[in-house]
């Protein structure tokens, strides 16, 4: 009796079939050979663990607490949703030109934006010039996140275990000998395009949609693709933890210094002496271009850093 027949034999409602399909059960049953011994062992272990935990729970009276907690959580959730629904009912209509958020602030951003910031893309002008303090905070969040991930995942004596080490060593060996032909050939085509596109998006941040963050992410994904297809060893020839630190810190320093300059001159009503250039040219809009480049570099390094730490635990 083949597996297919067995599957067909079990009567299922369309909904169950759909669920199975979503969860990938059907395909797996067809494609993968069953591995009963391993599975059952695992299940037994799990069952044992569940038993101990449930016993433990009863001892500490946690089961009841858990129950109450769940009911409360659902009630709070429903309450928040219904209150927000009621708020939506009171809010101005979607897409209407006279809702309260369209006021003199928007007017100035749109009408004077080009003159005051030199950016054709008003969103870039807004986040990097009018409200630059927010955006500086945002870059710091990214910097903090990569620092936290380094704290957690960088290999040290607290978070190494033998099994993982063996697996990584194996992967290193495989990486050294065997190159995936399809992957390397295709990535040789794609990586330059992605890098150039990322740089384009960064440099045109003040003229067209995009900017430091999205462009940096695209460049970062190109770096990740390189690391995936050619291996981390080749990557580490030109990108090590020391370079990573230097590059991010100095890019953020440039960012902080230029913003500090413009905040200081702005608050003390001094002339800023930064030319805005002709609108629409690449070299225009004063500091926005510099800031975009800095953010782009930081984000690209950060994204690659996340990847490297998540896979190997080192940069």
């Amino acid at each position: 009796m083949s597996k297919m027949a067995r599957i067909r034999k079990e009567k299922k409602t369309p909904w169950q079939k759909f669920c199975a399909w979503v969860n990938g059960d059907a395909a797996e049953q067809m494609l993968l050979p069953a591995q009963p011994p391993k599975e059952s062992k695992k299940k037994a272990a799990k069952a044992k663990r569940e038993k101990t935990t449930s016993n433990h729970r009863k001892d500490m009276g946690l089961g009841q607490f858990d129950h109450i907690y769940r009911i409360c959580a659902v009630l709070i959730g429903i309450a928040i949703v219904s209150v927000l629904m009621a708020v939506v009912l009171k809010l101005p209509l979607f897409g209407s030109p006279d809702n309260p958020s369209v006021n003199e602030v928007v007017e100035r951003y749109v009408e004077k934006g080009l003159e005051e910031t030199g950016a054709v893309n008003m969103v870039a002008g807004m986040i990097l010039d009018y409200r630059a303090f927010d955006t500086f905070g945002e870059s710091s969040v990214l910097f903090l996140a990569v620092t936290c991930v380094t704290m957690l995942l960088m290999r040290d004596r607290n978070n190494t275990d033998k099994k993982e080490d063996m697996l990584t060593a194996q992967e290193h060996v495989i990486e050294g000998y065997e190159e995936d032909i399809i992957l390397t050939k295709i990535s040789r085509l794609i990586i330059p395009c992605a890098l150039v596109y990322g740089i384009y998006v960064v440099l045109n941040g003040h003229l067209s949609p995009g900017g430091g963050f999205s462009g940096g992410t695209i460049m970062g994904s190109a770096l990740i693709l390189f690391a995936v297809s050619y291996g981390m060893i080749r990557m580490s020839r030109f990108f090590t933890y020391a370079t990573f630190r230097k590059v991010t810190s100095s890019a953020l320093m440039v960012y902080a210094a230029s913003k500090a300059y413009s905040f200081f001159t702005g608050a003390n009503h001094l002339e800023s002496h930064i030319p805005l250039g002709t609108p629409g040219a690449i070299l225009s809009s004063g500091l926005i271009l510099v800031l975009d480049i800095c953010v782009g570099i930081v984000v690209a390094c950060t994204m690659y850093g996340f990847y490297a730490l998540f896979t190997k635990g080192e940069l």
């Binding site: 990938g24 494609l31 949609p209 992410t217 970062g220 990847y307 998540f310």
Partner: protein, 84 residues
Amino acid sequence: MRLVLELILPILLIVCALAVTFSKRLLVSVVIYTSFSLIMSVIWVLLESPDLAITEAAVGAGVSGLLLIYTLKKIHALKGTSDE
């Protein structure tokens, strides 16, 4: 056409969010979440915010998905690979 899209896409978002919640396998959740981000980026285009569309496509559908999948690899939750 636009109207239909505008009505269908939010519904699809909700369906995706529910599917993420109730799917049994983590890989499936992650894949659905990535498609959730992709739908979001189409919605950003409809809402005339191309900046957000680019960012969401690069971050939500790209890097977040990647990080989630590598996490699944580390926690041995990828079905059908030698990890399981």
